[in-house]
């Protein structure tokens, strides 16, 4: 806050200090080139009295008068006076007892005095010979020497001197302007960065709190799902139980029509139970309360089991089902029930989206998982890879558009609502599969070509890695 105020202060205040905006080096080089060009000594003094540049060489006349006691006193007087003179807007021409003069030129910036230039001593070109104040300065003075030194003094016409000083003043004031501009720019730069940072920090804070809120809502959703599914399942179990009893004739013989209706009730109740179980699973998975009982699972048995479950459906739809297990495929380290759920879910899906005459392949083969993570991060520090089992479920179905691939593992996501109507399902299957695979420290990937089919690849740790 303090620095913000400073930026505003600097913008508003035009009280510029010469020493703050002018580098001594640059003003000295200007004075040096002025001296080199015109032979005129230059001093630059700030409003506060600091000497910022002093370019001069002692003249023989000045050196000589300083050897005389009266001369030395007078010289000190004059120099002291000149240094302290502050012109109030107009240039002051101050005479020296030697007949030379000093021009004291005011420097101003935005209407305020900021310092002065002292140009001289020089002798006005119009001067005829040395004044009496020089020739009679001291009894010990040697007149021919004085006259000789006087002639060596730089001489400038009054109008030229005025022009030169106006020019020098313009240059120095331009330097001040540029210096002030640079000073403002850097102050603004810092202030702007600070202000941007403040703004971003505020926004980040707001984002973080809304993220926390969303996370809480997500948690709430999971808990809600778990509770509701559980409450739904209890009465449904009774419905299924009593339907089975009726079907078995426990309440008397059934007509064909009654048996048919009961079959439908039973089938729909099973479907509903499946859906509720999925919801319950998802709820548990999201709450990370799923218990996995790891053991070594034979991939051949796993795929055969799944195959026998779906083969009637495949036959009915005239879809070929092929199971391939490559030689040397290790056992999988996982929970047999959950592994079956994973493969069955994928196989069911594959079947669902494959048209008559198509094919679904379930395959198991040896593979590796990169122990150091997908990008090989810090690979030197880890075992490069560990053995794994790769399960693939391949179909010749309609395929998944590429833009949807990244979302298919989201809960309740359906590529389009039409597929739900045509194929059923709540869009939970793949989400559950993904969570189960994650729970096994495995990975799942999908590749798909529209109209050609889809391949799901699940990589799971091999049992020997855990032996």
């Amino acid at each position: 806050m303090q620095d913000d105020t400073r930026a505003a202060d600097i913008m508003m205040g035009d009280v510029v200090r010469l020493e703050d905006v002018l580098s001594r080096d640059s003003v000295t080089s200007v004075a040096k080139s002025f001296y080199a060009l015109f032979g005129l000594p230059v001093r630059v003094i700030s409003h506060e009295g600091d000497l910022l540049a002093d370019v001069h060489r002692e003249r023989p006349l000045c050196n000589y008068v300083n050897t005389l006691s009266n001369g030395e006193r007078e010289c000190a007087n004059t120099v002291g006076l000149v240094r302290d003179l502050e012109p109030a807007g107009e240039t002051i021409v101050h005479p020296c007892f030697t007949g030379a003069v000093y021009r004291i030129v005011p420097l101003a910036y935005q209407g305020r005095p900021i310092g002065r230039l002292i140009v001289g001593p020089y002798v006005p070109a119009e001067t005829q010979g040395p004044p009496a104040s020089l020739t009679s300065i001291d009894e010990a003075a040697d007149l021919p020497t004085v006259l000789d030194h006087f002639d060596q003094m730089p001489r400038v016409r009054v109008d030229i001197a005025e022009e030169l000083c106006a020019h020098l003043r313009g240059v120095v004031e331009l330097l001040v302007f540029s210096g002030h501009r640079a000073q403002l720019a850097s102050t603004m730069q810092v202030a702007s960065v600070r202000e941007n940072y403040r703004e971003l920090a505020e926004k980040n804070e707001a984002l973080k709190s809304s993220y926390d809120e969303l996370k809480q809502l997500d948690q709430l959703k999971s808990t809600f799902l778990a509770t509701v599914s559980h409450e739904l399942r209890t009465p449904l179990t009774s419905i299924i139980g009593y339907t089975e009893m009726l079907e078995s004739g426990a309440a008397g013989a059934l007509s064909d029509g009654q048996a048919e209706f009961l079959k439908t009730i039973r089938s729909k109740a099973d479907q509903l139970l499946g859906l509720i179980s999925s919801l319950l699973d998802l709820g548990r998975l999201e709450a990370e309360s799923l218990d996995l009982h790891h053991e070594a699972v034979d991939p051949r048995a796993l795929l055969s089991d799944v195959g026998s479950t779906i083969v009637p459906n495949a036959n009915r739809r005239n879809v070929a089902l092929d199971i391939q297990v490559a030689d040397g495929t290790a056992k999988i380290w996982g929970d047999p029930v959950r592994l079956q759920q994973i493969v069955l879910n994928l196989a069911d899906n594959a079947l669902k989206f494959t048209r008559e005459g198509g094919e679904v392949v379930l395959r198991a083969e040896p593979g590796e998982v990169d122990a150091a993570g997908p990008a090989g991060f810090g690979a030197a520090l880890f075992t490069a890879s560990r053995p794994a089992v790769v399960l693939t479920v391949q179909d010749t179905g309609m395929g998944i558009p590429e833009e949807n691939l990244s979302r298919i593992f989201d809960a309740f996501y359906q590529i389009d609502a039409g597929t739900t109507r045509a194929h059923g399902g709540a869009g939970l299957g793949l989400s559950i599969v993904k969570q189960l695979v994650d729970g096994h420290d495995g990975t799942i990937e999908v590749t798909s070509a529209l109209g050609e089919g889809t391949i799901f690849t699940v990589t799971l740790p091999a049992a020997e890695a855990h032996a």
């Binding site: 209407g111 002030h180 501009r181 603004m188 202000e195």
Partner: protein, 224 residues
């Protein structure tokens, strides 16, 4: 407003606001060109390579009143590009009056509106009451094609709370009127809030007369 009672000096900050490329810097350049050199100081521009304002432009104007009071007007422009909002807010700090430079072209109506809403928001965030600070609106670029017509602007002016000026800043038309209008409204508001007449013995009418006198156009220069 900054007041230095000892030096009898009063500094006002006037800010030229508006959407990108609406002509804020061009207004200041025109004032600098047209104004008499003893009142207008050097125009300081802080711009990027593409002639776009990066931080601000600043034109100091000094008017010595006969009452002995020195009035310093500091004219600032803000960077119009959307990304420089933090800088706009910094420049807006402690502003006494705002000239909103709008682009008359119909296609720029949305940009004008957005920038004005941004002004309002930044004023509030800077702690300035947007309902109390004097704001005038200049419809610039009157020489372009497909601009809002004079009749439309006159109709707008009737229902507008802000005084409306028309200008072609590239040629200097209307910029001095806009500036004088802004100074007048700013001074009236400050008079109301700080009783400047009591403190400095200068009435609003006399003040404006002096401004008119000192800030009159340089006779050697005219609108191009």
């Amino acid at each position: 407003m900054q007041v230095d009672f000892a030096a009898k000096e009063l500094t006002l900050k006037l800010v030229y606001y508006g959407p990108a490329l609406s002509g804020k810097t061009t207004n200041l350049r025109a004032i600098h060109w047209l104004g008499t050199s003893n009142a207008c100081g050097e125009l300081m521009t802080l711009e990027t390579q593409n002639d776009r304002t990066l931080f601000f432009d600043m034109l100091p104007i000094t008017v010595s009143s006969q009452s002995g009071l020195t009035i310093r007007l500091k004219l600032f422009t803000v960077p119009g590009q959307v990304m420089h909002n933090a800088t706009r807010r910094l420049v807006l700090q402690a502003a006494d009056g705002v000239a909103f430079i709008a682009d008359s072209q119909r296609s720029e109506a949305d940009a004008n509106r957005e920038s004005f809403l941004n002004l309002k928001q930044n004023l509030e965030e800077t702690g300035i009451d947007s309902g109390r600070i004097p704001i005038i609106i200049q419809f610039n670029k009157r020489d372009m094609e497909d601009v809002r017509t004079d009749e439309e602007l006159d109709a707008l002016a009737k229902q507008s709370r802000e005084t409306i000026y028309k200008a072609v800043a590239t040629r200097g038309y209307g910029v001095m009127q806009t500036l004088r209008g802004l100074i007048r409204e700013t001074w009236d508001k400050l008079e109301e809030e700080h009783q400047l007449e009591n403190k400095f013995g200068i009435s609003p009418v006399r003040f404006m007369n002096e401004i008119e006198l000192k800030l009159r156009q340089n006779p050697g220069r005219r609108e191009r």
